[in-house]
């Protein structure tokens, strides 16, 4: 038995939707995190609830990338694939690096299963896997044997196969086993037999590795040099939900989430619905329009109104977003982008809602846009978006995406007490500057241009707002042409003037080439940049958190590079906005497959773009 030290590993588990891949991935992730590696994950599952068993469409998978340094992507090409049936093998084989390890259960490679997967011949026999290291492990049979004492039916017993795989992989990579049994017991609290079976299968997997001689090697990936502190594993949707909760907490405002379920945003609702012990209420509305309406109504009442959805929902909410622009009420609108247009690829990721976020409303209705860059960053981005919404009395669009939403990574727990305060600054008395003693809801703060905000229940400040154009300061209905001109420009100026942090450029070597991204492309871009630098290339990297308004130094940054490469999972939406501003050579690199970039692929793109750039 040898133990090989390695710096990073990418493992992928794949099986039928019913095979428990997501649980398996989740547990492996936790163990890995507990061990101290940095990691990133990528779950992938079909749009159908239970696609037909044994078919390629029905394959669900979970990929974990872990390393001894900080990493930013779920990894390009798996080093290990555990395939629970022929379809899972077929669906994933193309992604493996040459020489990768494949573990599969030969008993699953029956004629019937091969046919369902669309294999004319058995890949375990026909030599098509020769470039890989294939281990045949009768996971089903061994699991059945291991859990036999419990007396479950065959079908139920087989369900524990995933834990067998967990045990085996844990052994291979020296993952800690502490806590795993407790976690399983907790997870299946209501079904003690199942819990027991899972534990037995897990142990069987570990022991299988330990005792058979099939596996000659174990691997060691040393803990990463992460900043010290308390960590948890967090998905983007969970972090986003927690960010909303924290924003309410910091602002001391009630949070009201009005939402309608939609993939991949629903989990934000699911998470928040569990935290009603906070000053938080959730409303599952009849549709997206009602959902944002309820959120806006709550905001009118002085709460932090929040609505969560994906692209199709944003389309439906557009009219109400414009009402929020006109009424100048805080509102947090979360778009977890997915593949489009229309129903598109609902379980896949994309960044193609940027221009919708920016322009998808009638009239001049500017809305700030904030985008997180990683799963855990969804927390900070949500707090930041809420801060802007409340401070500037404006709807804010928070653009997450499917990859962030379902991806997860270790997260150094933030200290909520240290978050900058958010102050709604509700009006408490008349404010008219003409000595009338009236209350003017559209009198503005000189600095932020935020309007005054009095909430119902405040004596003497009764007033009416609405969607018709308002008179400057008093907020009364106004059809006056000059007033409209003033108000349109003022609303724009308010958004343009939002204080956002300057764009941070990471450019240790004074490069002439900048790679500029936004949102979930951060991970692969970062990884690609690292690889290039480690090869001695110079390349600068910057990542936009604020897509509207852009950071004040953006133009200067762009102007200071000869070439700016902008990778996006769309047809070049940020690139269009940048080109409209600066004369720098903007190279748009796009991909619209519903899947994140690979570090590999970006590395290639950047290398290519370096040519011709003066050093």
């Amino acid at each position: 038995m040898t133990t090989i030290e390695t710096d990073k590993v990418v493992v992928r588990f794949a099986g039928d939707s019913g095979d428990g891949m997501q649980l398996l991935g989740d547990r492996f992730t936790h163990q890995t995190a507990a061990f101290g590696n940095d990691l990133a994950t990528l779950p992938d599952y079909p749009a159908e609830i239970r696609a037909p068993q044994g078919t390629v469409h029905g394959v669900s998978s979970f990929q974990v990338h872990f390393a001894d340094t900080d990493i930013h992507t779920p990894g390009d090409a798996p080093d290990v694939l555990v395939a629970f049936n022929p379809a899972a093998l077929k669906a994933n084989i193309g992604d493996l690096r040459a020489g990768a390890v494949v573990i599969c259960d030969p008993d699953e490679f029956t004629r019937r299963n091969l046919a369902k997967a669309g294999y004319p011949t058995d890949p375990l026999e026909d030599g098509s896997l020769d470039h890989l290291t294939v281990h045949r492990v009768a996971m089903g049979a061994i699991t059945l044997g291991a859990v036999a004492p419990i007396g479950l039916g065959r079908k139920d017993a087989l369900r524990s196969r995933n834990m067998f795989a967990l045990g085996l992989l844990s052994w291979m990579y020296g993952r800690p086993t502490a806590g795993i049994e407790e976690a399983l017991q907790a997870k299946f609290k209501k079904k003690p037999q199942v819990a027991e079976a899972n534990v037995l299968a897990f142990r069987a997997g570990w022991n299988y590795g330990e005792t058979t001689e099939l596996f000659a090697t174990t691997y060691r990936v040393a803990p990463a040099a992460l900043p010290a502190g308390e960590y948890r594993q967090v998905s983007g949707n969970a972090a986003l939900a927690l960010g909303i909760l924290a924003a309410g907490w910091v602002a001391e405002m009630k949070v009201v989430l009005g939402t309608y379920p939609i993939t991949p945003a629903s989990d934000i609702l699911h998470e928040l619905a569990r935290h009603k012990n906070f000053d938080l209420l959730t409303i599952q509305a009849e549709d997206e329009i009602a959902a944002i309406g309820a959120a806006l109504g709550a905001s009118f009442g002085g709460a932090l109104g929040v609505t969560t959805t994906s692209g199709p929902g944003i389309a439906l909410k557009s009219e109400t977003i414009a009402l929020a622009v006109m009424t100048e009420l805080p509102l947090l609108i979360v778009d977890v982008q997915r593949g489009g247009p229309s129903t598109g690829l609902p379980t896949k990721t994309e960044q193609a809602d940027l221009l919708q976020a920016r322009f998808g409303r009638h009239g001049e209705s500017p809305v700030p846009i904030v985008a997180p860059r990683s799963p855990s960053d969804c927390f900070d981005a949500a707090v930041e978006a809420a801060r802007i919404a409340v401070t500037y009395r404006t709807p804010v669009l928070l653009l997450s995406d499917g990859a962030l939403a379902n991806g997860s990574e270790p997260w150094l727990l933030p200290d909520v007490a240290a978050l900058a305060p958010i102050d709604p600054g509700f009006a408490t008395g008349p404010n008219a500057t003409d000595g009338s003693g009236d209350y003017w809801p559209y009198l503005r703060d000189r600095e932020t241009l935020a309007r005054s905000w009095a909430i119902p229940g405040t004596p003497g400040l009764q007033h009416r707002i609405g969607g018709l154009e308002k008179a400057d300061r008093t907020g009364a209905i106004s059809y006056d042409p000059q007033n409209h001109e003033v108000m349109v420009r003022t609303r724009q100026a308010k958004i343009d003037g939002i204080a956002v942090a300057d764009l941070d450029v990471d450019d240790p070597d004074a490069s002439r080439l900048l790679v500029l991204g936004w949102g979930s492309t951060y991970g692969p871009i970062r990884a690609a940049v690292r690889r290039l630098r480690s090869q001695g290339h110079t390349v600068a990297q910057a990542h936009l958190r604020h897509l509207c308004p852009f950071p004040a130094n953006l133009d200067a940054v762009l102007a200071s590079y000869d070439r700016v490469v902008v990778p996006e999972m769309n047809l070049g939406q940020l690139a269009l906005l940048l080109r409209a501003r600066e004369k720098t050579d903007i190279i748009s690199h796009t991909k619209v497959t519903g899947q994140p970039f690979k570090a590999d692929e970006l590395e290639g793109v950047l290398l290519e773009q370096m040519e011709g750039v003066p050093a």
Binding site: L226, V256, A291, G293, A303, T320, L413, G457, Q462, G467
Partner: protein, 366 residues
Amino acid sequence: MTVVDIEMPSGGRSGTALVPRDPNPQKAADYRSDQEVRWCPGCGDYVILSTVQAMLPELGLRRENIVFVSGIGCSSRFPYYLDTYGMHSIHGRAPAIATGLAVARPDLSVWVITGDGDALSIGGNHLIHALRRNVNLKILLFNNRVYGLTKGQYSPTSDKGMVTKSSPAGSPDAPFNPVSLALGAEATFVARAMDSDREGLTEVLREAAEHRGTALVEIYQNCPIFNAGAFDTLKDPEQALHRLIRLRAGEEVELGPVGDDGRATQVVVRDRRGSLAVMARSDANPGTILVHDPDDEDPSTAFALSRLSTQDLSTTVTGVFRSVSRPAYDDDVRDQAALARAARPPSIADVIAGPETWNVPERSEA
């Protein structure tokens, strides 16, 4: 499926139970805003406005704790004219917006003002969902059977065959009966009144305010510009006598002139097939005369009464069709939160940490 009992003790209260009271007496004028009222001369909206302004002081609530939310339409300008908080929102969405407000703020009395187009055309879904959920909202639906603000197209309550700019050959749509629709949507409180009947309207508004949950009040409203005289037959006292039924809880459902016995000469009875019909009291078997029971848990009779009201107004039923107690949505939502809070005081640090954390120690190296 797990079903838990979420009924809470908060039901059964008044619609304004949680709204702070004004210690000082109020008058109608206190509810007049500084905005000039801008409806057409003769528009029924004027009298509804003054009726509402006269009724609000009776509630004894702090003005600042009253909110009127409207959609878009002539009627939806209503909030501007009331010195309360208000939002003139967008077309059809007022019930949704008001739902969020009512959920967030139990200390407010929340009213929705809407029109037949606003509520029943574009806003139909929000209306029926508010009713089903029983959010603590008072929805006043100004039914002039036409789109006023957009200059006179037919609406979902227009007569089939109505000639308008958009239906030069007559509207091909069969109209809704808003009371039937509301009852089909699980409404707990449904009433109807006429703009011109100040007394009847006031009474119904008062009851609506008291009701905890969604109260829908359909108000027949005259639009002299685009649907002039639509309700004239009900305003002519002579004709109204034979057409108009005023429901009163616990009383027989009757109409027509008062006879020698001091009672109305016509009554409503249930025929063998279950339909309600008007007949001469003298012909009716006394045992079959309908006695109005708005508290009936079963909405079937209220529904039958709604069908007695025909589109052509040959019979029109006004008053409170149904008023039953069912937990209000917003109370339930808040109660769930209160229970959660009681069971598990919020700790932001705990929730951020989640179920599983680990510690990365200070690195000794480097």
